[in-house]
């Protein structure tokens, strides 16, 4: 029998019930081993002791943000001082937009939402630890649903693809969500065509053979996912986070700017947005729309760069 290599994680949350929730979901996964701390201070002590051990265990620290004493940002800062290479993530039940400015200042690109389905929380943590399985719609849909793939070679094809996706989604999404999806698809589709390859906005574009934009979409029982992929990899995680923050916390200059709202607007109107970047090679944007789940303000922040 094959033995799974365990992923050791340290989970920090001041709420007993949240720790119990994580204990429950991680204990059901054979390849995870979780240790719990009730405060940032306790987490730092546990982590320090772990790193003094000749065989340190923890590969990942997942911390709540809003805690008495050291908050999540301070906890991560202290833990990174002990081991700058440790992978970390944050989680909160509050509105993540409230932490966007701090995330930008501290260079935090992933904040998980406590209200996310447990299997998706596990998947996100797994991705943050291993860096594997980030790219590709297959990694985010359950079962083996049919996936449609469309290669976009000119701007008019984007409109057709968006209309096809909206019709595909219509039986499962209400009009408000369809509107959000349509807007998000156009925003991210035009980003992939115009920004990724440097074409003048508003022009009719025929992509060169070396310029690839591919849209894939499919659905499982709970959600629809659309993936928009370009082969430029011209974005960076800092730029994505900065643009989202400009939408959430606009300066007077940002308010009157003529561009830079697309990613923010997509995240605002769609249920979930994940941006995956392989620098100078590819950018992949995943748009999630859930059939029954309501996201209002508690949307996760998920930007990965490998």
């Amino acid at each position: 029998m094959m033995t799974l290599e365990k992923k050791h994680i340290l989970v920090v949350d001041d709420s007993r019930s949240v720790r119990a929730f994580f204990e429950d979901i991680f204990s059901k996964k054979e390849d995870f081993s979780a240790v719990f701390a009730a405060s940032g201070e306790e987490a730092v002590k546990i982590f320090e002791a772990d790193r003094e051990d000749p065989n340190p265990l923890f590969q990942f620290v997942l911390t709540d943000i809003n805690m008495p004493g050291m908050d999540g940002f301070e906890t991560i800062e202290a833990i990174k001082k002990i081991d700058p290479g440790i992978n970390t993530g944050m989680i909160t039940g509050f509105n993540i937009d409230d932490y966007m400015k701090m995330a930008l200042e501290k260079g935090v690109f992933n904040i998980i939402c406590k209200m996310d389905p447990p299997d998706e929380i596990i998947r996100t943590v797994d991705n943050l630890i291993t860096g594997n399985n980030i790219f590709g719609i297959d990694n985010y849909l359950e079962g083996s649903p049919n996936i449609v793939k469309v290669k976009i070679t000119e701007t008019s094809m984007l409109k057709t693809a968006v209309n096809d996706i909206i019709e595909f989604a219509r039986p499962n999404l209400d009009e408000e969500k369809l509107y959000g999806l349509k807007t998000g698809l156009i925003e991210m589709g035009t980003n992939a065509i115009y920004h990724a390859y440097g074409y003048e906005k508003g022009s009719v574009v025929a992509l060169k053979d070396t310029e690839e934009v591919v849209i894939q979409y499919g659905a499982d029982d709970k959600k629809l996912i659309v993936v928009i992929n370009d082969s430029s990899g011209s974005l960076s995680k800092e730029k994505v986070l900065s643009q989202i923050n400009k939408g959430v916390n606009p300066s007077p200059e940002d308010l009157i700017a003529s561009g830079g709202r697309g990613i923010y607007l997509t995240r605002y109107l769609c249920d979930k947005l994940i941006v995956n970047i392989e620098k100078d090679k590819r950018t992949e944007v995943l748009i999630f729309m859930y059939f029954n789940q309501e996201y209002i303000e508690n949307k996760p922040l998920l930007i990965n760069q490998i």
Partner: protein, 100 residues
């Protein structure tokens, strides 16, 4: 793109007869700029036939609003639907551009 343009002195009302898309919004921009250059001080854009606005169009609106404001004029959006209103609010452009 077909645009219905009504002039009343320095006031101009422009109504796109179809959706404003990422590949035709510059035609709307050009028509508005032409009216401003011809002396219009209040330009209304009637969005009765527009169901969806994208960030490129919003950016264009900002440019237009700034250009006409420099000349002491005003840019106004009219007949916007609830979805567009939501986008205007989310991007705070409802604070910059007059919506009637």
């Amino acid at each position: 793109m077909e645009l219905m343009i009504e002039r009343d002195g320095a006031r101009v009302n422009i109504k796109p007869e179809e959706e404003i898309h990422f590949d035709n919004y510059k035609e709307v921009e050009a028509a508005i700029v032409k009216e401003i250059e011809a002396g219009a001080t209040e330009v209304s854009l009637d969005l009765s036939n527009v169901t969806t606005l994208y960030s490129m169009t919003l950016g264009m609106f900002n440019k237009i609003a700034a250009a006409i404001s420099e000349k002491g004029g005003k840019f106004v959006l009219t007949n916007i639907n609830s979805d567009i209103r939501k986008v205007m609010k989310a991007t705070r452009l409802d604070k910059i551009i007059t919506v009637r």
